[in-house]
């Protein structure tokens, strides 16, 4: 018996708990969902239809607009947010800046607000008689209120504004903490060699932060692919699918229309595939060998 308790057996025992848990609550549902993605039918009447669901994706205009919208958010919003977060973090890392703590808190604060609560506030701010329209009218910049939420172009802008406001501070915190690990002597040496602030930023800060930038880009990408709360609460996906996201489409397929869980599972797997592909690309581009 003693012999058995030796070696790694005890270790394995402890690992076993999480292995069982993870298999039961992660891998089993994943496999089941994958099987589900080959089935189709209403509600509980599901049957295997081979690759039909996967083929259906290609001539499903709602799916295609959900995909394009999601990529629009991704391509426009993620870079803007990452750059903003970088700039803020470098500015707020300046030891000569007064009220640093206050500014840091203020910019991080949106990240702790509830997704639904802030979405509802954004919705009211940008409504026909909301504060934004009134502000613009009072300044005589516009004469008639802009239909921010019922015009497809503006609705997208509002969504992008909202998620940028919500997540910039969150990403900034990662950069701020990473900046603490950059040795001051590097900047000192750069200054002695005559590097300008901008050069220091691009030649030292950004390269040193590269792993963190990669990390935040990947998490932001995944987050954007799963975007749901904001769109549902601010525009409801409208006007006419102009802001619908993949996640909302999955929700609609399962709960809004006559449920087709099979096809919804297929669409969910598209997100999985996209996350894998995009993360792989980002690793490749960032050239991280590890």
């Amino acid at each position: 018996m003693n012999k058995l308790l030796k070696k790694n057996n005890i270790g394995w025992l402890f690992v076993l708990i999480s292995i069982v848990g993870i298999s039961l609550f992660y891998f089993y549902p994943m496999i089941d969902a994958f099987l589900l993605s080959f089935q189709s039918g209403m509600g509980a009447n599901l049957e295997y239809t081979g690759l039909n669901n996967w083929l259906r994706l290609f001539d499903d205009p709602t799916f295609i607009s959900a995909l394009t919208n999601t990529f629009t958010y991704l391509i426009v919003q993620v870079p803007v947010m990452i750059i903003l977060a970088l700039v803020f973090s470098v500015m707020l890392n300046d030891p000569t800046l007064k009220f640093r703590g206050f500014f840091r808190t203020a910019i991080f604060l949106p990240a702790v607000t509830s997704l639904v609560a802030y979405s509802v506030i954004f919705k009211y701010m940008f409504s026909g008689n909301g504060i934004v329209n009134q502000f613009l009218i009072n300044l005589s910049i516009i004469s008639e209120p802009i239909n921010f939420l019922t015009d497809s172009f503006w609705a997208r802008i509002v969504i992008i504004l909202a998620i940028t406001w919500r997540w910039t501070g969150y990403n900034m915190i990662f950069y701020l903490s990473a900046l603490q690990n950059i040795d001051h002597s590097i900047y000192e040496a750069a200054r002695i060699d005559g590097a300008s602030s901008f050069q220091q930023f691009t030649k030292i800060t950004v390269p040193m932060l590269k792993p963190i930038i990669l990390f935040t880009t990947i998490t932001s990408t995944i987050g954007t692919l799963q975007l749901f709360d904001e769109v549902v609460n601010i525009t409801g996906g409208g006007p006419g699918n102009a802001t619908i996201t993949i996640s909302q489409y999955i929700y609609n397929l399962s709960f809004e229309y006559t449920p087709n869980f099979g096809y919804a599972a297929t669409v969910s797997y598209v997100i999985v595939i996209l996350v894998v592909i995009l993360s792989a690309i980002q690793f490749k581009v960032a050239g991280d060998k590890e």
């Binding site: 058995l4 509600g43 509980a44 019922t150 699918n241 709960f255 229309y257």
Partner: protein
């Protein structure tokens, strides 16, 4: 040897996990058993639960029904308020996993969604055919709440629609209430333009994502998004839909529409006096009358009609019905519904008096409460008008995919407003619907 011990350990772990699971279940069962015994000792009768949304309307109706119940079986009704979206979601998740555990006995389902549930989950609902007199209800409700000759839903409120209109604005523009009785959409738009000129207010609100107006228009002409079978899309070559889309575009182009993006903006617009009319279901009455300062300035007239064959001035928007889930307690739940919503004429009077809810049980739709004039509407007996229209609502089969089509059409409607050809718009919508609803 090593492997054997490993196996034993694994089995032990699994056993522990399973035991935990069982333990929990046992305790729940115990508790339930306790509850039951308590229930019987107290002589409270069989417990049934009901889920509904809207505390001022559906929940109140259930409470009134609970009071009105005078059947032989003792019943203890527990009413649980849930948002409609939550009810839809919970029904879908539970029913698709094949369990009725944690589900109520009675549930309220919107008519547009009824067929979707009935067909997607066969055997999940308990037929009420033997409990109620199907012929006593408005025809159009029966069409949507039954399947294969069995009646599953107990029709509740009517979504009969009318045109709520501001009489003071009408007068300012030189019109009287008589001028807006039984009008067409073209006349409506003309009046809207005149009102805007005279008062500066828009005629109505629209939410571009909500096609309620289009749905009301086509039902008034006796057609729907689907053929009579409820599953073949009927979008291209549907003259009523074509006319409805044209009317919608003319409304937009006449520049008499205030754009809104949600319910509270919609209600706010007429409460603030920003719009002159509200074409919608009668369930909006409490929201209209909520703005007391406008008392006496509103009238309800028949819904404008399309200029196509078979068009009428009556239509419907929304409305819901009660369903009994096929689980323990179904007989009691069905008896309760049949005794109240299914046969009690006096109860329908109470519904009118207390909450202004107009039912679809025809024998219950007469009497004093119905004839009474409504002060807010300048003495007009709106309930009598609405009940009269209810009987004439063209019956259509809502089918199972109303909201899916809604979303497809909402996109195409935007394209149409941006100058895409109407025939292309409808043909594209048709082909999309066909691929999506395979």
């Amino acid at each position: 040897m090593k492997k054997v011990v490993f196996m034993i350990l694994t089995i032990m772990m699994v056993a522990v996990l399973v035991a935990c699971g069982n333990g929990d279940e046992d305790s729940v069962d115990d508790q339930e058993a306790n509850d039951e015994t308590e229930g019987t000792t107290n002589g409270e009768g069989e417990a049934i639960t009901a889920w509904a949304w809207d505390p001022n309307f559906n929940i109140r109706a259930l409470e009134l029904a609970d009071q009105a119940y005078d059947g032989e079986v003792d019943l203890e009704l527990e009413i649980i308020e849930n948002a409609q979206d939550d009810i839809v979601q919970r029904l879908n998740t539970s029913l698709s996993s094949g369990t009725t555990q944690g589900m109520p006995n009675i549930v309220l389902i919107e008519d547009y969604r009824a067929q979707s549930f009935l067909q997607a989950y066969p055997d999940a609902f308990y037929p009420l055919t033997d409990y109620i007199d199907v012929d006593a209800f408005a025809d159009y409700k029966i069409e949507t709440t039954s399947l294969d000759g069995e009646q599953y839903g107990l029709p509740f409120d009517t979504g009969v629609a009318g045109l709520y209109i501001r009489t003071d604005y009408l007068e300012e523009a030189g019109y009287s209430v008589d001028d807006v009785q039984d009008i067409t959409w073209a006349e409506y738009i003309q009046i809207g333009v005149d009102i805007k000129e005279a008062t500066g207010n828009n005629m109505l609100t629209q939410d571009p994502s909500d096609l309620g107006l289009i749905r009301m228009m086509i039902q008034s002409a006796g057609t729907w998004y689907f053929e009579d079978d409820g599953s073949t899309p009927n979008l291209a070559n549907n003259p009523a839909l074509e006319a409805a889309m044209q009317a919608y575009r003319e409304l937009m182009e006449a520049n008499i529409v205030s754009m809104v993006s949600d319910w509270s903006q919609f209600v706010g617009a007429f409460n603030d006096g920003d719009v002159a009319s509200v074409p919608t279901g009668n369930w909006i009455t409490p929201s209209i009358t909520a703005e007391e300062s406008q008392s006496g300035n509103w009238a309800v007239v028949p819904f404008p009609k399309l200029e196509v064959e078979g068009a009428t001035n009556v239509t419907n928007l929304g409305g819901s019905s009660w369903y009994v889930l096929n689980s323990d307690g179904k007989e009691a739940a069905a008896t309760f519904l049949a005794n109240t919503f299914g046969s009690n004429e006096m109860f329908y009077q109470d519904l009118i008096d207390e909450i202004g809810a107009i039912g679809t049980y025809l024998p219950g739709m007469q009497g004093e409460a119905f004839e009474e004039g409504h002060e807010f509407f300048d003495g007009q007996s709106i309930v009598a008008d609405f009940s009269e229209w209810t009987e004439a609502i063209p019956a259509v089969n809502y089918g199972m995919h109303t909201y899916a089509i809604d979303d497809i059409l909402a996109v195409e409607l935007q394209n149409y407003l941006n100058d895409k050809e109407l025939t292309d718009v409808l043909e594209d919508a048709q082909s999309q619907a066909e691929t999506q609803l395979r």
